[in-house]
């Protein structure tokens, strides 16, 4: 499969999502409302404990808006290109896809990245602007940090994609995968930093949380933006995302192979 094909798939996904103008506006509004609520909550938290988790209050509020900005990009609540896959598994059409000489994972990943690009540009940038208008936010501490942040974004999307892909594939075996979806959504919200920055998680909970792939969704990019890491530490954290991507995409490939076998043997 050529790069050109992947680009075409991504572009098509971008364009498809860009037609939902009203939904995007409504979404930005909601993101902003929640951004405001959490900003005040964190300001109060850091007023009581000015140094919590190694952040100061400006870091904390910036973290809120970064979270809101990344929410849709990283498809934290589910959704994205893997929904198409889930639907095709449900209807059985996926059987056709499994016989085609197309890299299924690559295909859906390209589509998801296209979608993520649109969400970043619309529901990523807009809430950040709102946050900048309403609150005191900090910008990336250096150009190097800004670049590293930019790099961490497609990595975060890919991480999230891999997990969502696995969740979608559960439909090959489970009649009703809503339990898996809800559980994943819960874990994503809790362990990505969306609920509360992982730096606040006490003791062992914090250590475990920062080691899991979900940390790569929001916490890692946010920490790069906030300048919590320097130099080689940044590379280490980007590496963290990459390692999990390799592991999870490996799982995706294995799962897909098992699913193909199942479909071929049992006829779906």
């Amino acid at each position: 499969m050529s790069l050109g094909l992947y680009v075409a798939v991504a572009t098509r996904a971008f364009r498809r999502y860009s037609t939902y103008r009203a939904a995007t506006l409504a979404g930005v509004f909601t993101n902003s409302v929640f951004g405001v609520i959490y900003s005040y909550a964190y300001l109060a938290l850091w007023a009581a404990n000015p140094d919590a988790g190694g952040y100061d209050k400006v870091d904390a509020v910036t973290f809120v808006w970064l979270g809101q900005a990344l929410l849709m990009t990283v498809a934290l609540f589910g959704g994205g290109a893997t929904e198409d896959l889930a639907e095709r598994i449900r209807t059985g059409d996926v059987a056709i896809d499994l016989y085609r000489p197309v890299n299924l994972i690559g295909w859906y990943l390209a589509s998801d990245l296209g979608r993520a690009a649109y969400h970043l540009v619309s529901r990523g940038v807009a809430p950040m602007l709102v946050g900048l208008l309403l609150f005191d936010l900090t910008l990336p501490v250096s150009p190097a940090h800004a670049v590293a942040f930019a790099v961490s974004l497609p990595l975060a999307v890919t991480l999230s994609f891999a997990i969502r892909f696995l969740v979608a594939c559960s439909a090959f075996w489970l009649l009703d995968s809503s339990g898996v979806r809800v559980a994943t959504m819960g874990l994503s919200i809790f362990l990505s930093g969306m609920l509360l920055p992982l730096v606040l998680f006490p003791g062992a909970l914090g250590t475990v949380a920062e080691a899991l792939p979900f940390a790569g969704y929001v916490q890692v990019p946010a920490d790069i933006w906030l300048g919590r890491h320097d130099g080689s530490a940044i590379l280490l954290h980007l590496g963290f995302q990459v390692v999990w991507i390799v592991v999870l995409l490996g799982c995706c490939t294995a799962v897909l192979r098992a699913a193909t076998r199942k479909v071929v043997v049992q006829g779906g």
């Binding site: 979404g27 005040y40 909550a41 609920l195």
Partner: protein, 268 residues
């Protein structure tokens, strides 16, 4: 009054049918209730984690914030269980099911709310009740306070009822902007988890006089906790939850009636 009883019985008839149908898939149903409880309980977990880092938030201790959280979530849970289906009204309009409902001898709102009734949302009420019960052990109970607590929970439910219904009416006009309502319904719920001292004065006033979510839990809880209003608002507001609820429900029903009238006049 007799009318209200008859309608309640019709609602129960429809709802129990759906419950019985769901009960056929027992394990799936129980799983969903538990999953719902865990997912909605994440907010409570966040509060507890927050307090591992500090003693007070906005001048309120853990058990005080837990009381606020519990009361608000129970209210939301009640509303969500009884009328949460109203959020699906856009779907009914699209499929033509709304037109069919109009040919049946029952109020439209009742049919929409009872449609696809599910007890799964009890998960939220359960988890919130546990938190509330724990926080309640710290309250110095008197008969008056018990009465206010009961009214608080009922009024909270009614206030969220009003919000859900009112903002679902947007779907008569556009099907794309449903996320807009979330800012008010779930945003209102998230907001009231925290003591209103964390917000600026103007916001607090809007939440008292414009979108009166402050009456869901804030004002009554001040009475339960025996605290003076930190903003210096008059203490009789602490007994006004039922009034606010009544006003909100009244406005919501007006918006609903107008929206339905608009729908039958334009036939979109």
């Amino acid at each position: 009054m007799a009318d209200a009883l008859v309608l309640t019985r019709r609602y129960v008839d429809i709802a129990s049918l759906w419950v019985r149908a769901a009960w056929v898939y027992r394990t799936s149903f129980v799983t969903l209730v538990v999953a719902n409880g865990l997912l909605t309980g994440l907010d409570a977990v966040a509060i507890f984690i927050m307090f591992s880092q500090l003693d007070q938030l906005g001048g309120f201790s853990l058990h005080e914030v837990a009381l606020l959280y519990g009361a608000s979530s129970i209210g939301l849970g009640i509303a969500d269980t009884l009328i949460g289906s109203v959020e699906r009204i856009g779907e009914h309009i699209r499929t033509g099911r709304l037109d069919q409902m109009l040919t049946k001898p029952l109020p439209l709102l009742l049919q929409v709310c009872a449609d696809q009734f599910t007890l799964r949302r009890l998960g939220r009420i359960t988890q919130a009740s546990i938190v509330f019960a724990w926080a309640a052990t710290y309250v110095d109970w008197t008969p008056a306070r018990a009465g206010v607590a009961v009214l608080m929970v009922l009024s909270g439910g009614a206030l969220f009822f009003g919000l859900f219904v009112m903002f679902s009416c947007i779907q008569f006009v556009t099907k794309d902007a449903t996320e807009f309502s979330n800012a008010f319904t779930y945003g209102g719920a998230t907001l009231t988890q925290y003591p209103l001292t964390i917000f600026p004065r103007e916001l607090m006033r809007s939440l008292t006089f414009v979108v009166p979510v402050a009456f869901v839990n804030w004002y009554p809880c001040l009475y339960l906790l025996g605290r003076d209003d930190p903003w210096g608002m008059p203490s009789w507001l602490q007994f006004c939850s039922p009034l606010a609820a009544g006003a909100m429900v009244g406005v919501a029903l007006l918006v609903w009636r107008t929206s339905v009238r608009h729908y039958t006049s334009t036939g979109s």
